[in-house]
Symmetry: C2
Subunit: 318 residues, 2 copies
């Protein structure tokens, strides 16, 4: 059987998984991303873990390579570039350094890098629901909003290697201030962070009753809003409706560009299921240009949350 190694580099932890061709994570290793702020030390630890996993199967099987999903990961350069939430500054030559380290120890493995959302999109193609879907958009709803765009069966990297930033398309030039320095980005509304901003605005601007008034304002989480919505709290439901509206606008605008057949939602907020999906579908059709209406299905991702980042990264080897 063929195996691949998928690595999910997050701000806190780095998880390294050995994945078989059916998409099962057969073994995992973990280390703290902040273990060392010296990149070379950190990457030596990563290489050691890769070798540990490879040793489990390499005698009798082919290991296709190592795929890495990382914030600001660049597919063309094999780098991480100026990732704000990682302990390493500037441009990290991830692919080059790791390949050299592995080769020194006798492991001839090709390393491929991309960002988390692109990895999720490729994961959906290889192991998830998008096996036969030629045109789709993957939306990852976490602290921010990421996206991976697939056109004609291929992930879109574009000129820079950073294509697919639906979360940073602008839906209102006078809108909310985004961390990126601009205003009105989709991410500022349709992420776990964004929905909390929305509910705080709603609680402040109305005197309407809500279960959420029992929680200290600074402690409200997106999960609280979801639970309130599940109980039929009208303010929480309205908050989800507004979130869905903005997300639908971002998806509609991206869809006018690439005309996808499917949109898959993944991560955090997508767990709200129909509470998010139902208004999302309604608004998407409203915002779409006539030729695209009723041509796009929005669904939840087919990847298991727990292993999705590793699966996406491992899928880069294909």
């Amino acid at each position: 059987m063929d195996y691949s190694i998928g690595i999910d580099i997050g701000g806190t932890n780095t998880v390294i998984g050995l994945v078989d061709e059916s998409g099962t994570v057969v073994a995992k290793e973990k280390l703290r991303t902040k273990e060392s702020s010296i990149v070379d030390d950190y990457l030596k630890s990563v290489a050691t873990k890769i070798e540990l996993l490879a040793d489990r199967v390499k005698e009798e099987n082919l290991i296709l390579g190592v795929g890495i999903g990382a914030p600001n990961g660049n597919y063309y350069h094999g780098t991480i570039e100026y990732a704000p939430n990682l302990p390493f500054n500037g441009i990290i030559e991830l692919k080059e350094i790791l390949e050299v380290l592995l080769l020194k120890d006798g492991y001839n493995l090709k390393v491929t890098v991309t960002n988390d959302a692109n990895a999720a999109a490729i994961g959906e193609m290889i192991y998830g629901k998008a096996k036969n879907v030629r045109n789709f958009i993957m939306i990852t709803l976490g602290t921010g909003v990421g996206s991976g765009i697939v056109v004609d069966g291929k992930l879109v990297y574009g000129h820079t290697g950073f294509a697919g930033e639906v979360g940073h398309t602008i839906i209102d030039i006078d809108g909310r201030q985004c961390n990126c320095g601009r205003k009105g980005c989709v991410e500022r509304y349709a992420s776990a962070t964004g929905i909390v901003i929305t509910i705080k605005e709603m609680l402040a601007n109305t005197t309407r009753d809500s279960i959420l008034r029992a929680i200290k304002e600074d402690e409200i989480t997106s999960k609280d809003i979801y639970e309130a919505a599940l109980k039929g709290d009208s303010l929480a439901l309205e908050c989800f409706d507004y979130t869905a509206k903005i997300l639908a606008l971002g998806i509609a605008n991206a869809s006018e560009v690439t005309s996808p057949e499917k949109v898959y939602l993944f991560g955090g907020l997508s767990k709200a299921g129909d509470i998010l999906l139902n208004p999302l579908k309604k608004y998407l059709n409203e915002f779409l240009f006539s030729v695209f209406q009723n041509t796009i299905d929005i669904e939840l991702s087919g990847l298991k949350e727990e292993d999705a980042a590793i699966l996406g990264a491992a899928a880069l080897c294909y």
Copy 2:
């Protein structure tokens, strides 16, 4: 030498051109699109003109095929579908009917169909400035705003075959009413029609002096605004600045999706040159997410206005 036949179907005229491989239109035929509202009659006339042109070179040369650029032209289906400005209703099986007509007369030519803006993008790739550009966006600024998106050297058709509608991305959900039934489409601001709406609003909402006040309001054209701007008329310049701002937002949002290296402007409003280009470049950089800033050049198309539609259509044969 290889030749191809390019057809530009417009609301008023249909122009059929014989194009050599260097991109020279060596001969042209013309007929009125509204000659007959019976599609079969119209297409018989088109076929006759194609044959007339083909006869000029077919003895000693290869004719690659027939390319057609038409409003609402669909590449996958070879059809025109519900084009509002053509005299034919519903779905026209353009490719099928024309191929049969031509074959009957002994001309075995493959017919390819797409919309005008996609044809312009392909024309730019084959005959214009984009010969070695893998990722670009073509924007056609006419009565409306069209676009053709090229990713990794291939035109994006998407699931429906209608991908690339930057003109119908929404920049303000409470914005101007668009003909398409929705509100706030880029096209409603950044087209020849849109800029006239803007100047009328400006003239009505201020008492500022302007050369344009000498023209009857209902008779102001985008050309008048351009000429006033050339003379330094501050209201006209502000009008171009606002137009550029909205267009920049539409282009920025599309660029977050596909990360182009170049954006080419074509048609009507693009003739304003630097009056449009200078503010457009400034706003584009402002609206772009940091990783895309200073990675995109905006330029005027390299296709000659007069023959561009035919060249784009002819380029479909490649």
